[in-house]
Amino acid sequence: MKILVCISKTPDTTAKIAFSDNNTKFAEAGVQWIINPYDEWYSLVRAIELKEADPGSTIHLVTVGGADAEPIIRKALALGGDEAIRINTEPLESYQVAVQIAEIARQGGYDIVFTGKETIDYNGGAVGGMIAELLDLPYITQATGFQLNGTTATVKREIEGGEETVEVSLPVVIGCQKGMAEARIPNMRGIMAARTKPLKVVEPTSNEALTAFSSFGLPPAKAGVKLVSPDNVEDLVRLLHDEARAL
């Protein structure tokens, strides 16, 4: 089985969100960077589990980013994976990222392409679906489970109000979310091994973007909480009904 896992670098979940350059850029000063949790906890770990079950499998990691993405890709390699590819361009939007990864996926002839269901920074949730369309492959996102049976896979996905189990033929692109696998932490052996695993840098084939982030902003702060005494729960219900019009 040949598996490609897409890795994205995102700010830590507790990072302070602020913008610079007249609100046109994310303010990166002092920000800790992590592997996008959906890429790490669910997609990469599930790929590692598949390789553990079938040691003949290979896992390649791919990321689109500058040299500053290398610590993140090394951290991913410490968890598992055989080698990594970094496409050397600063990503501006989803289509640009998807085109680069689709090109790598096309050359590599992978059976499974795993992505996170979205990144926690720009929340586009688009790269997986775009890769699938560029390669003309099936795509299942919001996947909460993935089992291989030969050349087909059984995938669980979240839908409104429930879960659906589907069968799909390989190759396939999967967008992973919670439920896929349990988070792991790299061990010392993995961290040592990651230092010598191949990390190939390739140049982008094109840099076409179809959208642009023109500016950013922060939502207005809440007016402040209105506290109700625990002895007057009825007052809360009345406020929710008359004032907030939420009941």
Partner: protein
Amino acid sequence: MSVLIFIDHIDGHIKKASFEALSYGAKLAELEGTSAEAVLLGSVNDDLASLGQYGVKKIHQVQHENLAQFDSQVYTKVIGQVAEQTGATTVVFSNNSSGKSLAPRVAVRLKAGLVGGATGLPDAGNGNAIRKNVFSGKAFANVTVPAGKKVIALNVNAFPITQSEGSAEVVSFSATVDAPKVKTVGSTKTSGKVALTEADVVVSAGRGLKGPENWAMVEDLADTLGAALACSRPVADAHWRPHNEHVGQTGVAIAPNLYIAIGISGAIQHLAGVNRSKVIVVINKDPEAPFFKAADYGIVGDAFEIVPRFTQAVKKLKGIA
């Protein structure tokens, strides 16, 4: 030039999220001085002509046995054919489970710029930028689409449903429909009676409840309110509740009209999944719980006393007690 809206359905009925998408698409067409048309794949029990009341003039219905399975690859090719033939320059989806599967694919197929998770209409005063949430709702971005065509996936519960008099013309569209590669072999409903991502009201509880055996009072309140159930991450990780109820940055992101958080401290990762809620109520015994800073209403006190009284008061309001 026209706006094409994708109508999503389940179990023979159109999803509420599609009424939002239709209302949005109709308004967008009005702003752009063009017409709003819709596309529906498969068939429903609902009356399609009456969807005209959301402002759509024409509905293209594609019926084919291969559409019985939801396969985003097959659906995308069909939507692409409808978009081409109708000359659509904008395609609107709800950013629900179907929309998340389809919008990115359709954007590539039409070579259109994608705005995923849009929360508003293009702003003429700001270069027609479309607002969307970023950083899990902790910020927003204005996105411009310099490409000729655009695909918009509208966040659920982000745009009001507008209705007026009107009837839509329903036309049968004949398309080439490939055989699906995805086959649904089973489905399960989640524990709650209302779908979490579509719910107007969500009742959520955390570690403050001390154990899974104490959820009956939360379920009781949710039932009384017609609300969906949710929980915090520690509760899902401890298997007190199923993981599909976990709301937060790495769980489900929701935007109900009313979010009631019981015994949840309000860590930043939890807030990221619920901060788009219109009204937030927090019940917590710790007055220092960070959640109170993000709440509209709060009660500092013991959930085990407050929740049953809350349920009683709601029943009284609704005249059922």
